[in-house]
Symmetry: C2
Subunit: 446 residues, 2 copies
């Protein structure tokens, strides 16, 4: 709205425009060379032993996409991952996906040509050599702590019984087919996929921009199957954020700042194939919350359901959020203070033979849908399509999410208010060193 | 994720919990009395000559809802507006919608009783007297510059030929039925409504929280008809933000810091009914952008379409964003440098007998939908349901949006890429002084 004072300067600083900085990028000079030192507050490292976006302090916005592979050649998939890795590293440092003064270079350039040939004169399909390398809407924005986290679904290894890429024998035992849990109402339009990418950033435009560039690079090799936006409140990085149920969510999470805890809970170790070492398994669940229904409950009932006090976050009967969750306490009548079917009891490690996961959820808010209740008082009208886009990481989903959720799906008192309507399981490989690409060890060791 | 050090202190500071601060709220002590001085960076005034959210510097997130009135008594509508005003003022200052240690008080309490009676024992409809006054997910968050902007649709004055509230004669001449523009593809599920509320805040959770509380207060009087989320990039408040087309959007907007310009373009003056003085007319358009199609165009073609250079934002042929838009310049062959059908030419005041509007748009990103093209190369797959939630304000839509858009709808080169799929026109009354409610003069002068 207001007139920029320094718009040109800022864009130039980051090397988006032509000129010396842009040429440096074309010449392949390292990303740091073409931009002034980034604000350490606003970038997250891309290269490393682990992918970003897993133990990274949660950014405020997320854009998740699952892709279906439509190409049959393994080398094309590897080429896509190479192009995605390069673009992701550039974008994480605040640059465009490819140098802006070049044309779009899709991961597998032949496909743009194919489309052109098929289309002929009847349909003026633009030649990819004339498309902009980047769609531009993140120009001038901070990198906003962008992370891009890549995962492989079961479909990369085999699909409809076919070993499309000669990778079937490499499928990790931990990359199981998720069982159908009690109450699951998963819809195809929000489930599965051969590849996953999650963009997280402190700016929704930066997150969506990143995914959009990756989707363009994938043209002809992979296409979007489903997407999900998410957000977190600006919770100042210190407090445990509240989700849309109004309760703090994540109090008992293992601490991301504790490398030993992360090694125990999150990171695949020697038990996994080499390409998964330093990686993790991502379980995503699109959990729709019946907010209108929840909002009609008394706070005391909500607290019994969760097993915590709403405002303080303390376990029932305690006063502080981080007071120990004591599952054995009983009231004067001998009944457990935290109900047998309370959410926190069923989720607790103590109730699951020590099983733990790292939860990294976002709330989602996808508008409203019409509904009509078929019982008195015959409410009808729009209801929120909102809830929790639950994401968790673990070194093995069989002893992580599946172990924990099988009982929760049956007994959790919260199930009256939540429905799992989508999601997936993805193997997120270890991180890449500069010059490598994400998943390289999987493709090279076959 | 991390353990809060000061969670309890912060919540208490803002008077959400019981105790002295909460009791002060119950006792009706002024809102400032129960909280420490708010950060002036993070609150926008609620009371005043004008409603907030119109000439307020754009916040990063928006949640817009249109409501249908379902109640037939005028006094109930007035009561709803009184309750909405009180809750909005509280929330804008960072408080809960109603004191947290009280039960929910819907605007028209009798309705909760009605539902209870109808439901009886067969359906355990909770009594509103036991519902929490606030759903809680904004506890501990900053007010985040929350504004709530209320508007009246034509349906408040008459609907299906009925003068439901005895207000038909008060309908302002400027509150016309929007014409059907060339290319309009409006769908009911995103259009119209008797009342509108837009929540804008620098935190998506704060914006949605506010709307959700207002919807709860409206129980039995009004229900949600459609909603739309929106976002802006973190553009530092100085630069003109880019929309999802990658172009700067708003360069030629009248300046919100210029009261004379606002008086001329935005605020209803003596020509309007008294309750609209200091108010403005809101036109909303949900504009879906065919991003995949746009992204295949050369940048030079995109620039011809818009009439500006993509990266600098300068008019075609100029170098700086705020260089004058010179529509008369021709090239050496005598052709206009800015094409006859370029977006900026058709939108310019000079092309519309001086007509101007204040644009206050947000981008939206509602996931993906399946599509299949019926021509070569027969593309199919998911396409983005994303674009621009265009909102503009003006003192009279007949000489504002309608005047400008009638020609744009026919001739704008950008129409190849954008489709208007929803929206509405709402009369936003002047602001309220403390103790009044929004729209009071309309209801009291009948």
């Amino acid at each position: 709205m207001n007139r920029p004072e320094d718009g040109e300067r800022r864009a130039s600083r980051r090397g988006f425009l032509t000129g010396a900085a842009g040429l440096a990028a074309v010449a392949g000079v390292g990303v740091r060379a073409e931009a002034a030192a980034p604000n350490p507050q606003s970038t997250e490292p891309f290269w490393g032993l682990h992918q970003g976006g897993i133990v990274t302090p949660a950014q405020s916005h997320s854009y998740f996409a699952a892709f279906d592979l439509v190409e049959t050649r393994r080398e094309d998939v590897a080429t896509l991952l190479r192009a995605w890795t390069a673009a992701a590293a550039r974008m994480a440092s605040g640059q465009t996906a490819q140098p802006l003064d070049s044309a779009l270079k899709p991961a597998v350039a032949s496909h743009a040509g194919d489309a052109q040939t098929k289309g002929g004169d009847a349909y003026a399909t633009p030649d990819s050599s004339t498309m902009a390398a980047d769609t531009g809407e993140a120009l001038g924005l901070s990198p906003a702590r962008l992370t891009l986290t890549f995962g492989f679904g079961a479909g990369l290894f085999s699909k409809d019984g076919k070993d499309r890429y000669g990778l079937a024998s490499r499928r990790p035992a931990a990359l199981v087919d998720l069982p159908k849990f009690v109450g699951d109402q998963l819809v195809d339009g929000h489930s599965g996929g051969d590849l996953s990418v999650q963009a997280c950033a402190d700016d929704p435009q930066v997150a969506f921009h990143a995914l959009r560039q990756l989707a363009r690079l994938a043209d002809g090799v992979a296409q979007i199957r489903w997407v999900q936006s998410g957000f977190m409140p600006n919770f100042n990085g210190k407090e445990t954020p509240r989700n849309l149920m109004g309760f703090r969510d994540g109090t008992n999470n293992p601490r991301i700042g504790d490398p030993q805890a992360m090694a125990k809970v999150v990171w695949v170790g020697e038990e996994g194939p080499d390409w998964m070492r330093g990686g993790s398994y991502l379980v995503a669940r699109r959990i729709r919350i019946a907010l209108e229904h929840w909002d009609r409950m008394q706070v005391a009932f909500q607290e019994q359901t969760v097993g915590r006090h709403k405002y303080s976050g303390a376990p029932i009967g305690k006063t502080k959020e981080f007071d120990a969750l004591d599952l054995d306490t009983t009231d004067k009548d001998g009944n457990p203070v935290i109900a047998q079917n309370a959410h926190v009891r069923l989720a607790a490690a103590a109730s699951n033979d020590g099983a733990q996961i790292l939860r990294r959820p976002y709330s989602y808010n996808d508008g409203v849908d019409f509904t009509a209740e078929r019982w008195p008082p015959w409410r009808q009208g729009q209801e929120y399509d909102a809830g929790l886009f639950f994401i968790c990481y673990q070194r093995d989903p069989r002893t992580g999410f599946i172990k924990i959720f099988e009982r929760m799906a049956k007994f959790d008192m919260m199930n009256q208010f939540v429905t799992h309507v989508g999601g997936g399981l993805f193997a997120c490989p270890g991180g890449a060193a500069e010059g490598e690409f994400i998943g390289q060890r999987l493709f090279e060791t076959v």
